[in-house]
Structure formats: structure tokens, C-alpha cells
Symmetry: C2
């Protein structure tokens, strides 16, 4: 009844506001990833979107709410760009590898202007307690859990040796990805992606079972590095 009274019309009533809110957040995400969530200023965002400060501000009760909304928007993009495509791969080593591989492309292709949105946000807020920091930490835990689950599933599928500690492997992969992101942001070093990729693949190959190794990309010869350097 009450739920039935919530006609689609009521939703359409809100459509316009929701749409501009969305376009604001789209701009916010890119500014924040490059200049930081604190550098994301209301005035700057208003200029960027061609709105007035107050008009824009009305969509969010406070700057903190804007930051939180921006984080959610970034999360959606991350899920769409990394998680979803990786889940097209079948469970096991293939999915685990694809998660890592796509993540590297997600940074390299500039899905966000400032590299990984959450790596930047985490570094900015790790010393400032509050809901923003908490939400960032939650989302990165989500990512780590997804990665770890993929490791365990690969083991359950008999494609990955059970002696490897899933938490340890997850830590190492995440670190290598953060390292590649760091090197690319600070030095524009694209080779860092290849290095992270090599390091991850080397670990996966070393612990892959015979049936598992077919799920990984074919190993290149020793000349691969020299060829790449050229």
C-alpha cells in the first residue's frame, strides 16, 4: 500500500535533480583523485560544472557528505571497471589473475586522473579519523577480501598450491599494485606496470598446479624483457 503509493511518477519528479547530482559527482571524482578529497573545494567544483556554489551545495548537506558521496561514486566506477569485468573470467586462477591484471590497466588507462582513487584517498585520510576515513578503509577492505576470496577459490579448484597463505599472497599482490601506481604517478614510469605484472605472474606460476597453469597467460621467453626494453 504505502509501497504501492511510491509510484514511478514520484521517482520521475526527482529525476532532474538526481541527474545533475550525478554529473556533479562525476566531476568531483576526477578532481578528487587528482587534487585530493580535501582539495576538492565547493567553489572549484561549482566553476567546473558551471553552477553556483550555493546551488551545488544544496545537493549535499555538508562538505563531508559531498566527500562521502564522491567516494561512493568512485566505488561504483571501480566496480564497473575492475570487479565486474574480472568476474567474467571463470572462478579460480583465471579470475585471480584477471583481477590483478585489470587493476593495472585501470590505473594505466587513467580511469581516474590521479591514478587509483582509493590509494590516493587512503594516503590523504589515514591520519584523519572520521566517517570519510572509515568508509575508505571499508572499501579497500572489500577489495582485499575480493582478492583473497579469489585466491582461496583458486586453491579450492585445485589450481593453486594450498601451502600458500591467502592473506600473505593478497598482501603481496596489493603491495605490488600500489607500488606500480606510486611509480606511475610520481615518475610516469609505465614500465612499473610490467614489473608488477611480472612479479605477480611469477608468484602465480610458481604455486600453480599442473591443471592451474593453463589458466595463466603463456610464459614469454627470456628475451621478453630485452624486447620490452627496446
Amino acid at each position: 500500500m504505502s509501497a504501492e503509493a511510491m509510484r514511478p511518477a514520484a521517482k520521475a519528479r526527482k529525476a532532474h535533480g538526481e541527474r545533475t547530482r550525478q554529473s556533479i559527482l562525476e566531476a568531483a571524482v576526477h578532481i578528487a583523485s587528482a587534487e585530493g578529497l580535501e582539495g576538492l573545494t565547493i567553489g572549484r567544483l561549482a566553476t567546473e560544472t558551471g553552477m553556483s556554489k550555493s546551488g551545488l551545495f544544496a545537493h549535499f548537506g555538508s562538505k563531508e557528505d559531498l566527500q562521502l558521496a564522491t567516494i561512493e561514486a568512485a566505488r561504483k566506477i571501480f566496480i564497473h571497471e575492475v570487479i565486474r569485468p574480472a568476474f567474467d573470467a571463470e572462478v579460480g586462477l583465471a579470475r585471480l589473475w584477471k583481477l590483478c591484471d585489470i587493476w593495472l590497466f585501470y590505473v594505466r588507462d587513467g580511469v581516474f586522473r590521479g591514478g587509483c582513487f582509493f590509494a590516493a584517498a587512503a594516503a590523504e585520510f589515514d591520519g584523519r579519523p572520521g566517517p570519510v576515513r572509515d568508509r575508505i578503509a571499508e572499501i579497500m577492505k572489500e577489495w582485499l577480501s575480493t582478492l583473497r576470496r579469489a585466491v582461496v577459490e583458486a586453491q579450492n579448484a585445485g589450481q593453486l598450491d594450498r601451502v600458500v597463505d591467502p592473506t600473505q599472497l593478497t598482501f603481496e599482490f596489493n603491495s605490488l599494485e600500489l607500488g606500480a601506481n606510486w611509480a606511475f604517478q610520481l615518475y610516469g614510469d609505465k614500465q612499473a606496470f610490467a614489473r608488477a605484472r611480472d612479479a605477480i605472474l611469477e608468484r602465480l606460476r610458481r604455486h600453480a598446479t599442473k591443471s592451474g597453469s593453463t589458466a595463466l597467460p603463456a610464459a614469454k621467453g627470456k628475451r621478453s624483457r630485452a624486447a620490452r626494453a627496446k
Copy 2:
């Protein structure tokens, strides 16, 4: 003559200013590592040191100069706390390992409030061109070079297999350290240090020659992880 005219008295004349400048920078370094180089505000710093804004400001011509001076102060601390002690170890695998090991302690022991000063600064400024960003990049390159040199020296000493690519190994070690720093700052996860340590040691052991492996700490039994978890 002119040089002789520069009597110690003339130096003593300037002593007081230099000393307060140093104490300002000491406070600045800790604030900046926790709140960022931009969050390091002149008013905040004045309050912290019990000085007036203008009196403090006179020591630096601009905020950017203050940031640069803060970076130099942090670099000196880093050299004193990490580089110098590691160079007590003899050239080769021992020094390489000590560089990595001490770095982890440097973060864990809170030499800076916000973890690794330069990791935080790099994340903050990697998207903002200018002298501050340039200097941070330079200093981190210094660190990478030091690490890489240690790898090469270990190879030259016949303690590390020559098939390993020094640049690749340096990238991996640096990534693992950044990963530990990240996990500790965001989650307070102290186990991350053990994980980074294990990962680094595992790689070193795998590529150490017979003569080299004596330079590494004795391997713990398999129960070590279970014991640590308890």
C-alpha cells in the same frame, strides 16, 4: 682575509635564529607527516611552537619555502634513522637486508607520526607539478638508487644470483614496504610488517648463493607463522 674576518662571533650572532628555525622544522616535520604538507598551516605551526605567525613566517620567505625546508629536515632524519645504521652492515646481502629491515622499523616505531614521510608526501603531491613535487621525487629516487646499489653490490660480492634484475627486485621491495606502510596507517595492522619482511626474506633466500645465505637471519621453522598468529 675576508674569510678570516668571518670570526666565530659572527656565527654566534646568528645562532639563535638558526636554533629556533630548527625547532620549528622539527615540529613541521611531524605535523606534515600526519596532516600533509598542505595541511601544514602556518597558523597551526605557530600555535604548536608557541610563536606568532609573523615571527615564524619570517624564517621562510613563503609557504613553499617552508614546505621545501620541511622536506629537507625529514630527509636528514630519514638518513640518520635508516640509511646510516644500515651502512654499519658490511657491503653485500647483509646491507641490503638491513636497509629493508630497518625501513620497516622506521615506520613501525613512528619516527614520523604519519608513517613514512615521503610516501605520504609523494601521494599528496604527485598530481601537483612544482618544486615541491620535484624534490620529493628526487629524494625517493635517491632511496631507490641506494636500494638498487645494494642489490648490485650483493651480486658483485657473489652473494646474490646474477639472474635477478636489480631494478625489478628494487621495485618489488619498495612496493612491499609501501604496502606495509599503507596497511599500518589505514588499519593499524602490525602484522603487515611481518608479511613484508617474510616476502622480502623469501626472495632474498631464494636467490642467495651458498656464501650469501649466511648473511641473512636464520630461517624460522614452519611453526613461526602459527606462533606469531597466536
